[in-house]
Structure formats: structure tokens, C-alpha cells
């Protein structure tokens, strides 16, 4: 028996449960009640609302990623410069929340924003009551939820970095800032890239955080897809499928772009 055959069960599985289900999206996007048509697809694509919500989600994902990077990089950097044994322990502290149920963490924030803060500080309005406040609240919680996912790859890359390179740079007369900009930062690019991939893509499609934190009154692209599928009429399936196709294209583009930066394929990015 050839060992190659060991892969066959999974290949069958893949076709049945990964490839075939993907076809359904295309089926529902172009098929209404058994007839093939591009009408629904085009009407969804040409809807201004689709693109404005998509744009809002991209902006939100971009902001989330940028803030996570700004907050997370110093953390990973400080940790990587600590004594191995201490850093190991403190880094665990940063990763524990990642293991806790995602929905539960988000719920805790919604309870804090809606009930705890106004009661403890005796303020009348919660953050989500204020105009534009829902955006800020959603951003805050998204940063919270994704921050560990940014720190982890950054820490992995930075702690594996050859410290003698930094010493060499110092010896050659570069000051701290130059060393950081010229040596540390370029060497940590794989970590940055995989950190961005781990935060950016999931935050484009997030629908739990906006739904829970925005009191059901704040929609990102993920919410739009969810609403379409849960709207109760069959046309919702074609709208939702169309929106999913747009999303898939976007994700593939951003993955390809990210891979350009990650020449060594060291990070977690794929395709």
C-alpha cells in the first residue's frame, strides 16, 4: 500500500465539505427559484449602500489593525528584550484572554459600557448613546478582542531575532532610534505582516462585536451578510451570497498583497 493514499480520505473530505459548499454561494448568487439570472447579483452590486457599508468596514478594520499594531508592537518589543524566563511568564498573561470565549469577552464589554460605567461614575449617557459613540465603542472592543492576535506573531518574530545584530549596529555607532528603524523594524516585518493578516481580515467580517456593542443599531459588512441570510425571504439568500462573493474577492486580494510583503513565508499568511 502506498503512503500517498493516506491523503485520499482528506481529499474526499475537502471536495465534499470545502469545495462543494463554496459552489452554493455562486449558485444562490446567480440562481433565483431555479432560473439563472444576473439580475439580483447586479442589483446588489449596484446598490450604493453595499459599498458604503463595505467602505466603513474597511476603514474600521484598518483603524483596528493600526491601533493594535501601535499598542502591540511596544509590548512585543519590551517582552522580547526581557529575560527569557520572565518574558515567558508575562507573555502568557497576554495570551490567556485569547483563550477565553470570544463572545463572552465581548459580552463583558457590552455590560461594562451599558451598565457599569454609567452606574459607577454616575453619568447619564453611555458611550453608545452619543452620536458617533457606537463607532468608538465598536472600535474599542474590536481592538480589545484582536490585540492578543497582533502581539503573538510580533513576539514570536522579535524573540527569535538574533540579538547580536543589534549589538553590531550599536558598535557601528548607530543610536537607539536608528538601530530600531534600520535593524529591528525590517527584521520584524514577517511578524508585522502575519499580525496584520490575523487582525485585518477577521475584523472586516466581524459581526458579533457590532451587533452586541452597537445595540443592534450598528452595521458592518458582516452584519449586512447576516441580516440578508436571516431576513426570512428567499431573495435574502441571493443578496447574502452576492455580498459574500464580494467579500471573498476582497479577502483574496488583501491576502495576496500581504504575501507580497512576506517573502519568507514565515508568518501565518497563506495562498
Amino acid at each position: 500500500m502506498k503512503r500517498k493514499f493516506f491523503a485520499y480520505p482528506y481529499i474526499v473530505w475537502m471536495i465534499l465539505f470545502i469545495a462543494v459548499p463554496m459552489l452554493f454561494i455562486f449558485y444562490y448568487a446567480f440562481n433565483v427559484d431555479g432560473t439563472w439570472t444576473t439580475e439580483r447579483f447586479l442589483s446588489t452590486i449596484s446598490d450604493k449602500d453595499t459599498w458604503s457599508v463595505l467602505w466603513r468596514s474597511i476603514v474600521m478594520a484598518f483603524e483596528t489593525t493600526a491601533i493594535c499594531l501601535l499598542l502591540g508592537y511596544p509590548i512585543a518589543y519590551i517582552l522580547s528584550n526581557m529575560k527569557k524566563s520572565v518574558a515567558g511568564f508575562i507573555s502568557i498573561l497576554f495570551f490567556v484572554p485569547m483563550w477565553m470565549n470570544f463572545v463572552l469577552r465581548t459580552y463583558a464589554w457590552s455590560a461594562i459600557i451599558e451598565y457599569a460605567i454609567p452606574d459607577l461614575f454616575h453619568v447619564e449617557n453611555t458611550l453608545t448613546d452619543l452620536p458617533g459613540g457606537k463607532t468608538i465603542a465598536v472600535l474599542l472592543v474590536m481592538v480589545y478582542d484582536f490585540l492578543p492576535f497582533m502581539i503573538m506573531p510580533l513576539y514570536n518574530t522579535l524573540s527569535k531575532m538574533d540579538k547580536s545584530l543589534i549589538e553590531a549596529s550599536r558598535d557601528l555607532g548607530a543610536d537607539g532610534l536608528t538601530t530600531f528603524l534600520r535593524v529591528v523594524l525590517p527584521l520584524s516585518v514577517p511578524g508585522i505582516v502575519s499580525g496584520i493578516t490575523m487582525v485585518f481580515v477577521p475584523s472586516i467580517t466581524a459581526f458579533t462585536v457590532p451587533e452586541l456593542i452597537g445595540n443592534g443599531d450598528y452595521s458592518l459588512y458582516g452584519n449586512k451578510i447576516e441580516q440578508a441570510f436571516k431576513s426570512g425571504n428567499i431573495s435574502g439568500y441571493s443578496v447574502g451570497s452576492t455580498l459574500s462573493i464580494v467579500l471573498l474577492i476582497l479577502v483574496i486580494i488583501s491576502t495576496v498583497i500581504m504575501n507580497r510583503f512576506d517573502k519568507d513565508k514565515e508568518g501565518g499568511s497563506i495562498l
Binding site: 449602500d49 451598565y115 453611555t126 448613546d129 443599531d217 441580516q227 440578508a228 431576513s231 435574502g236
Partner: protein
């Protein structure tokens, strides 16, 4: 490492065992228990559980019930299970549309559902329901004929459904926070209460009351009118606290919000917990709704489904249920058992002139897509 894997395997096997055991043992327990302790027996005038001394024979099997959250007294399920030997699987959902999806999916195996009026009309149109066998539901005699007259509108001859609960849609407001008179839907657009207004997370209800506010028909089929309502609701975006369902109740009770569009039954329950709250059905008119119990075509345990409908319509059981849920019962025998606390309350038992300005939702057919498209825009306006 090997030891570790063995341990894991053992854990999995144990879990499997526990699951099997659980399925055996839990069959006589109810599924939905956020309650603390069994409440004391309701003010019973006679000893039996049932008003008419009904006897149920053993039926057995499973009964899959799809219902709204907090929409039945969990003890009643226990009683029913004990009487008939049926295991009730009680599944909750949060919107009529969700119920429609669950029932439409071809592998749905629900035996009983509690959808609202316009959804029942649609289900009848789509041939999803089973005609009821009234010989198995003798307790249907308890239903108030005035109610069946209204439900007749969406279920001609009441062939497919029996009324379960009913009520109105109105405004619940905090009298300590709202100093303007609340008589019109217009208060929902009052900037004084910015960030303190809850709307209901349901297409038909929210767009419906806006149509009423603008003076249009609740069941309009005019795209221009729906568009006007949509724009009005988009304009409201910065004033809204959110779109809620059950989750707005705690918020209202704790005074975190000032105004909420809400069903009368929920309003009653909230006022009970916070006397500062008050409920009004605005002058422009509103929606009167019915949640009826139906048996889908795909139901498996039809015998148990009929028995459960009959059980729910027993005067005493229905009274207990309405006391628990706080929604108005269409059951006359139950109404006779309730004390003035319920019957003389205008939220629970609205006077005729309020009902006169309320309409029932109708199935809109394909026009519902216009509503859904508008709804999608409203939901992303904040």
C-alpha cells in the same frame, strides 16, 4: 505524551457516557430553566392542575417546540411532560423571520410553533401548515369568540391556528425622564431624548409604526410610502439607543433609557418591576398582533402537538401561563380566573377605543422585499 493522549481519550469516552446518561435522566426535566425555584402554587381555587379535570393519556416520544424567549411558564412544560410522557425540546428564537427560516428549511422537525399573524398568513399561502384536528382540542371552547373573529382575518375559519397570546405595540416611557405628554409616535423623533430611545428590532413593527406616524396604512404596498418611512427612520439614527428585543427590558427597568417601542406584554412586565414606567398606544394608531400556535406540515409527533395545544388552552393552565408571561391571553376561561391586577390594567387588557385604532399586520407577499431592502438601509444608518 502517550499517557496524555490516553487521558484525553478516556476523558472523551467519559463525556460520551455522561451524555448518554444525561439524555436518559433529563427526559423528565424541563429544558428552559432560568428560574430560581419553583414558584408557589398559583392561587388555586380547586385542587387539580386542570380546570376541567382533564385526563391525558400516555403519548410519549419527543415534541419539538419553537417559541419566543421567555414565552411560556417553564413549569407548565414539566407538568405536560409528566402528564403525557412526552419529552419537550423547547427551542427559542428572537424573530418571526427566524422562525420562518427554521420552518422553511426542509429538514425542520418542529412539531409546534408560535408565529405571529402575518407570518401565519404567509405560511398558509406557502402551504406550510397542517389543518388542526379540533376534535383533539376540546379546550378550544375556552377561546374568546371576539378573538377568533380577529384571527379569522389572517387564518380564515381558524383552520390552522389557535390564538396563544395577543397584544398591542406601543410606547413604554419613564415618567421621571420624559416630561412631554406621550400621545404620539412623534416623541420618538424628539431630540431631547437623544440616545435614550429604543426601537424594536423587527422589520414590520418598526417600519409599521413609522408608516402610522406618517399617516399611511400599516400594510401599505406603496414603494413611495415605505421610502418615506425609511427616510424618517434614517433621520432618527443619531437619537436611537439601539434596536432591541428582550434585551431592552433590563435597560428600561433600570432607567438606562427613557423611551422604548415595545409589545404590551413586555411593557406590563417592565412596569411591574419599575413603577415609574408607563405604557401608551399612540393616537395615530398602532398594530394589534396575535401569536398563534400552529402545527407545521413536517411535524412528526402530531398527537402530542394537539395534546399540547389542548393543554395550553385549559383555563387554569392558560391563567398560570399569562400570569407568568404577562402577555394578554385570548382565553376567556383564563381571563375569568385572573384578578383585577390583570383584568383592570389597561396595558394588559386594552379598552375598546384603543383597539379601535389598531390594525393587524398582513402578509405582503413579494412586496416584503421592499420592506427588507429598506430595513437593511435603516440598520446601517448609524
Amino acid at each position: 505524551m502517550k499517557k496524555w493522549l490516553c487521558l484525553l481519550l478516556a476523558a472523551v469516552m467519559l463525556l460520551g457516557l455522561a451524555a448518554c446518561e444525561k439524555k436518559g435522566r433529563d427526559s423528565d426535566k424541563e429544558n428552559n430553566a432560568e428560574t430560581v425555584e419553583p414558584a408557589p402554587e398559583p392561587s388555586g381555587d380547586d385542587d387539580g392542575i386542570f380546570a376541567d379535570g382533564d385526563q391525558y393519556s400516555f403519548i410519549g416520544g419527543e415534541l419539538n417546540v419553537l417559541n419566543w424567549g421567555e414565552y411560556i411558564d417553564p413549569e407548565l412544560i414539566e407538568i405536560f411532560e409528566k402528564e403525557t410522557g412526552v419529552t419537550v425540546n423547547y427551542i427559542e428564537m428572537t424573530s418571526n423571520e427566524e422562525m420562518l427560516i427554521k420552518m422553511r428549511s426542509s429538514d425542520s422537525s418542529y412539531d409546534l410553533c408560535f408565529p405571529s399573524d402575518y407570518i401565519i398568513e404567509q405560511m398558509i399561502r406557502e402551504d406550510m401548515l397542517q389543518p388542526l384536528d379540533y376534535s383533539k382540542i376540546p379546550n378550544v371552547k375556552n377561546i374568546d369568540p371576539k378573538m377568533t373573529e380577529i384571527t379569522n382575518v389572517f387564518d380564515p375559519g381558524n383552520k390552522y391556528s389557535v390564538p396563544y397570546m395577543w397584544g398591542t405595540v406601543g410606547i413604554l416611557y419613564n415618567t421621571k425622564k420624559v416630561d412631554d405628554p406621550v400621545t404620539s409616535w412623534g416623541i420618538l423623533w424628539n431630540e431631547k431624548y437623544a440616545g435614550k430611545i429604543w426601537m424594536y428590532d423587527s422589520v414590520r413593527d418598526t417600519i409599521g409604526i413609522t408608516l402610522k406616524y406618517l399617516g399611511y396604512d400599516l400594510n401599505t404596498r406603496s414603494e413611495a410610502e415605505v421610502a418615506a418611512a425609511r427616510d424618517k427612520l434614517i433621520e432618527q439614527a443619531p437619537l436611537r439607543k439601539g434596536f432591541g428585543t428582550d434585551n431592552m427590558k433590563t435597560s428600561m427597568v433600570n432607567g438606562k433609557a427613557a423611551i422604548a417601542v415595545i409589545y404590551s406584554g413586555d411593557a406590563f412586565a417592565c412596569i411591574e418591576e419599575n413603577p415609574d414606567l408607563a405604557y401608551v398606544v399612540p393616537e395615530e394608531g398602532s398594530n394589534v398582533w396575535f401569536d398563534n400556535v400552529i402545527i407545521p406540515k413536517s411535524a412528526q409527533n402530531i398527537e402530542a402537538a394537539h395534546a399540547f395545544i389542548n393543554f395550553l388552552n385549559d383555563g387554569k393552565i392558560a391563567a398560570r401561563n399569562t400570569e407568568y408571561i404577562c402577555y394578554s391571553t385570548p382565553n376567556k376561561a383564563a381571563m375569568d380566573r385572573l384578578d383585577a391586577y390583570f383584568t383592570e390594567n389597561e396595558t394588559y387588557n386594552p379598552p375598546a377605543e384603543v383597539l379601535a385604532r389598531c390594525e393587524v399586520f398582513h402578509d405582503l407577499g413579494d412586496f416584503v422585499e421592499v420592506f427588507n431592502a429598506a430595513w437593511s438601509k435603516i440598520k446601517s444608518s448609524n
